[in-house]
């Protein structure tokens, strides 16, 4: 992610310089210039993907929905009235929100799939017992993958419990690297309200993750690393 941020920072070296540069890029993108569209894409991809990935259970779904969002960006960029970066960001997040809502609505309408195996947990335990002696790498360890997937689902559930504004603050602050003022302009609130949203968002997330995983509130990657250290 640092590489993405660096590219953005290189493209827009300082805040004062970023504004006219962004407006110029946006103007060209509205005309359909490929280079400008690519610049916008690279700039907003981490945030959009991070926002979507934090709300859907798996990566493939996140990638599909991210694709939808950017295709809609291409279709609708010339109709957007705003010329500010925060306005475009807000618009993209709105599109992403609608896309995710559509995904969950569609998923609810689909029939619930029941596993053919009698007990998934029993099987998992069996696999776990067998896989301890057989697997060599944690990256390919199906147990790890299974555990990571399940734990990430926990994180997703926790993030989905946040309000939309809280989610936007976290994404804008942590992924896009926006300061409080910029985020305030993006979501249409005061700076103090954004700070409060930020605090409450992290606090809620921390509480939810602790509740789901009593030992620690660490995210899956860090928890797995800790487990391996414990095993040693």
């Amino acid at each position: 992610m640092f590489s993405w941020q660096r590219s953005i920072e290189e493209a827009f070296s300082s805040r004062e310089e970023r504004v006219p540069v962004f407006e110029h890029v946006l103007k060209r993108a509205k005309k359909g210039e490929s280079e400008a569209v690519a610049t916008l894409y690279h700039h907003f991809l981490p945030a959009v993907f991070g926002y979507i990935a934090a709300r859907v259970p798996d990566r493939s779904t996140a990638e599909d929905l991210t694709s939808e969002v950017f295709l809609k960006m291409v279709e609708g960029i010339d109709k957007v009235r705003t010329t500010e970066e925060t306005g475009i960001a807000a618009w993209l997040f709105q599109v992403a929100r609608v896309t995710i809502a559509g995904y969950y609505r569609h998923r609810e309408k689909q029939p619930h799939c029941v596993a053919l195996e009698s007990s998934f947990e029993d099987k998992n335990n069996t696999i776990r017992k067998n896989s301890v002696t057989l697997t060599n790498s944690s990256d390919t360890d199906p147990v790890t993958c299974s555990e990571s997937r399940e734990e990430w689902q926990t994180v997703v559930n926790a993030i989905n419990h946040l309000t939309e504004d809280q989610r936007l603050v976290l994404v804008g602050r942590l992924i896009l690297g926006y300061d409080i003022t910029t985020i305030a302009r993006m979501i249409g609130k005061q700076a103090n309200a954004v700070k409060a949203l930020q605090f409450r968002a992290l606090q809620s997330l921390n509480r939810l993750l602790k509740k789901a995983n009593p030992p620690a509130a660490a995210l899956p990657a860090q928890r797995h690393q800790k487990r391996r250290e414990d095993d040693r």
Partner: protein
């Protein structure tokens, strides 16, 4: 003075601003129990979120998506370029297309309706493209008629339309179209008259008969009003049509041209027929002559100097109401004096097959006589020879040829019959029995 939540939020922001840089190992922070431990946990969580692999787009995916986005952008750009050239096609997207389709349908409908309306109101003649539309419409109406009565009613209306069309074509520039329309009108009347007569004896039948009678009267009246506008051939045709409708029109039964040599060389043209008057005018070869008619017992006599009457081919007469008649069967006679002595008669000109009913009638009646005279003249020297040919098994063609020369194509049949009789008679009389 800030509240505790505000203080906590500010402190967290400060920590995040200072810490959102390089990753701080979580172990170093977790063990801390400082009053802002929760803040520290939140900062760690923020950092973990920021660096969570699950939230990072895969570079391969990013590259694929970039190509997809740029390709889609290319398509959109092309669409917008076309839309800028034809903006009216794309305003409202699908709704505009629907409007366009509706407009096209309305134009087609309107065009068809206009053509039909124009065909109905402008009375197009056979020389007008709308005539086909009108004919099609009339045929459609007839085919949709659900009863003989309604069919007869439609036919009467078609007849009225044809009459109106004739009125509009009654000028020299539309002679052919006028003639064709008149033929169609005549056929129409010939068709509907028996159709109406064949209807069952109901109130409708009498009503339709009355309508037909009134229509025929109207046609006759209209034709009389059109006659002055028409060129001479159309006058002749219209006069024939009037005769067909039962009007009193001039009919030529016989024309005799008598040339008198003494005391002066002059020609007397005697026209015998019906509905002639002393106001009847004479036309020789369709050219009017100034001599007036001396009317006497259904015969008009015109006397003119010889120089005026060279190479007579047709004799026509025209009344004051512009009804006309024409014949090409002319009997020629020559006298040495005005008393008619030393008369010689000659049937000079063949029937050129003119299109008047009068002429046909005349031929039917007069051909026999003419043929006799011609036969006598021709056979002045070669009587035996011709008799042999007629009565023998030989050449009948000569006789036919003679007859044909005298009477033209139209009367060949009649001539055949008449000739046989007259020749037989003349043979019997003139030459004794064979």
């Amino acid at each position: 003075m800030k509240s505790q939540p505000e203080y906590n939020a500010d402190q967290l922001e400060e920590l995040l601003s200072s810490r959102l840089g390089p990753i701080i190992p979580s172990t170093a922070l977790r063990t801390s129990s400082s009053p802002d431990a929760e803040q520290q946990e939140l900062v760690i969580l923020a950092q973990q979120l920021r660096t969570a692999p699950a939230l990072q787009p895969d570079p391969a995916f990013a590259h694929r998506l970039e190509r997809k986005v740029l390709a889609h952008n290319g398509r959109q750009t092309h669409k917008h370029t076309f839309a800028n050239t034809w903006p009216w096609l794309f305003i409202g997207h699908g709704a505009q297309f629907r409007v366009i389709i509706v407009l096209i349908i309305l134009c087609l409908f309107g065009g068809t309706s206009t053509a039909l309306a124009m065909a109905s109101t402008t009375n197009p003649g056979p020389d007008n493209p709308l005539y086909m539309v009108k004919t099609w419409k009339q045929n459609l109406q007839l085919s949709l008629a659900d009863s003989p009565q309604s069919r007869a009613t439609i036919n009467l209306q078609i007849t009225r339309d044809q009459l109106n069309t004739m009125i509009h074509l009654a000028d020299p520039t539309h002679a052919n179209a006028y003639h064709q329309t008149m033929v169609d009108l005549e056929q129409q009347i010939d068709t509907i008259t028996p159709d109406i007569n064949a209807l069952p004896p109901e109130p409708d039948r009498q009503h339709l008969l009355n309508e037909l009678i009134a229509l025929k009267d109207n046609i006759r009246h209209t034709l009389y009003t059109l006659l002055p506008k028409l060129p001479f051939p159309e006058k002749l045709a219209t006069t024939t049509f009037l005769a067909h409708l039962g009007a009193a029109v001039p009919i030529i039964q016989k024309v005799t041209v008598t040339t008198t040599k003494h005391p002066t060389l002059q020609v007397t043209i005697s026209v015998t027929g019906t509905n002639l008057a002393n106001t009847t005018r004479l036309l020789v070869n369709n050219q009017p002559v100034t001599e007036t008619c001396t009317f006497q017992s259904n015969t008009c006599l015109f006397v003119a100097p010889m120089s005026k009457l060279n190479q007579l081919s047709t004799i026509s007469i025209i009344n004051t109401d512009d009804t006309a008649a024409q014949t090409s069967v002319i009997t020629h006679a020559t006298t040495n004096d005005s008393n008619g002595n030393n008369q010689k008669t000659d049937n000079k000109k063949p029937n050129s097959g003119n299109n008047t009913a009068n002429n046909t009638n005349n031929n039917e009646k007069g051909n026999e006589k003419n043929n006799v005279k011609a036969y006598k003249k021709v056979n002045g020297k070669d009587n035996d020879k011709i008799n042999d040919k007629i009565n023998g098994k030989g050449n009948k063609n000569d006789n036919v040829k003679v007859n044909k020369k005298d009477n033209g194509k139209g009367n060949k049949k009649d001539n055949g019959k008449g000739n046989g009789k007259s020749n037989g008679k003349s043979n019997g009389k003139g030459n004794g029995k064979k």
